[in-house]
């Protein structure tokens, strides 16, 4: 019995929703001034079909500029899109991507690999890491003491 009642209520609700009119009359409860003349009820009909022009008019009325053009919304919007595309998408994102994935920039990884290989070779041969005679002593020409005189030596 209860199930029948519920089914009935459900079907009524469904019926209502399916057959809901696109134009809704909203009857406001506020009345006009109390006087002896006949009261005319004014209904407000809201049309759900056409809201785009209203909202776009409201948008142009209270428009806040992005900052790129003070006067024209279309110009402002298009400049904003172009500037953000070039500055952020191209310059920041794409450039950042390219810079972070550059292969062995300035041969730093190569130099480190070569250094480790050389160190391994030297350790295997028992040599020190850096040769104390890197520059052969006979190639170094120092000026004589008399030539230097009292000149300051800055290293």
């Amino acid at each position: 019995m209860a199930a029948l009642t519920r089914l009935g209520a459900l079907s009524l609700r469904l019926n209502q929703r399916l057959l809901q009119p696109s134009v809704v009359r909203s009857a406001g409860i506020s009345t006009s001034k109390k006087n002896k003349d006949t009261v005319t009820v004014t209904d407000v009909i809201t049309d759900h079909g056409k809201t785009k022009t209203e909202s776009s008019e409201a948008a142009t009325k209270n428009w806040v500029s992005w900052g790129f053009d003070r006067f024209s919304q279309v110009e402002d919007n298009s400049t904003m899109h172009m500037t953000f595309f070039v500055a952020i998408t191209l310059c920041i994102v794409t450039t950042g991507f390219i810079w972070s994935y550059l292969p062995d920039f300035r041969m730093r990884d190569w130099a480190q690999r070569e250094a480790f290989l050389e160190l391994r070779r030297r350790e295997a041969l028992g040599l020190p890491a850096i040769d104390p005679d890197l520059v052969p002593l006979d190639k170094i020409e120092l000026p004589a003491d008399e030539e230097l005189g009292s000149r300051e030596i800055i290293i």
Partner: protein, 444 residues
Amino acid sequence: MLKFILPLILLMKFNKEWKVSQVGLFFLSFLISVNCYHNFFLFNSGFSLGMDYISYIMILLSVWIVSLILISSQKIKNLNNFSSSFISTNIFLLLFLMLTFSSMDYLMFYISFEASLIPTLILILGWGYQPERIQAGIYMLFYTLAFSLPLLVSLLIYYFLTGSLVISLGVPLEGENYLYKFWYMSTVLAFLVKLPMFMFHLWLPKAHVEAPIAGSMILAGVLLKLGGYGLIRVLIMFQEMNKSFCWFWVSLGIVGGVYISLMCMRQVDMKSLIAYSSVVHMSLVLCGIMIFSLWGLAGSVILMVGHGLCSSGLFCLANMVYERTGSRSLMVNKGLLAFMPSMGLWWFLLSVSNMASPPSLNLMGEIMLILTVLSWSKISILGISLLSFFSAAYTLYMYSLSQHGIFYNSLYSCCSGKVSEYLSLFLHWLPLNAMIMNSTLLMI
């Protein structure tokens, strides 16, 4: 190199359309930034122009800053205050800067170095706000010109003696007598005035304060770096003589830096404070270049790039406040967090980058330079520590006085911040804080 300069010259045709120039300059900086991968130290060469690692990053910085100038100078566009001449002046300036940084010849470098002064003067005189800009323009022009004429003479003597002015073929000069000292001084002083060093810095606060936002951004962002870049190029010739004199420049740099940072604490004008802080940063750069070690040069280049972005961003912020309240004074523009809370984020981020906090490029440059100066002389720790301490002190002073506290009663309300303003600040801040991750692109 012409693949960047020709599009730039063609962009001058579009000076009547702000949108095209703005987007075009960003696209140019994208083109330059994807040209970074080369395994030889000299690339993009042709027509006696070429790039090596320092000049590449300086050119990229110049184009980036000029693109940001066009976003930040919306007031000139809205009021139609000679906006087409403004765009052409900026593009001319960028052209001369690109020629300066990419020139492989000392004379070409000198000519473009001097030529970049003229559009800057036109920017200051044409779009500045106050009558004092005449004096500011004269100070800037004559300080730079007076010291750069000896530079021209010294370059011509160099050509006469060695037969070539090509930078890569620079022959280190050896000589000890007073004439060589004079030659060294006349060459180096031109760049010390541009940098600016402590005794010759007087043009900088004037020019920065009187310039419009475009002038301030390009001055702080790029033109000061011309001095540092020129020094690096010219000291190839004068390495031996530099060793005798570097104590003088480093001492002037450190002592002058400490003194100027104390002067910063006294400033009431926001732009003046940021201008004096530029002098402090550049004095540290000077120390690094004059010591001429590898870390000194690398640290100075990194600090130059970081400072260019950071100071330019701070000038943008000061200009945004000026456009709203009509005053640059910290006494009027206080408690701004109540008016522009979202802008407070950018004030904070750029202020902490200014005081070299991680993870900004300024931190990396300053660490490298502090280590360089310390390795050169241990006693300099006194000056360096005071320099670092006071740079934090005046930056905190500027941030907390402008943002925190109760606001000035006469201010009513203002726009919190347009998206274009946030974009320009974001584009200042992001390279500053992200490039520390991959700073091999910036090192010499």
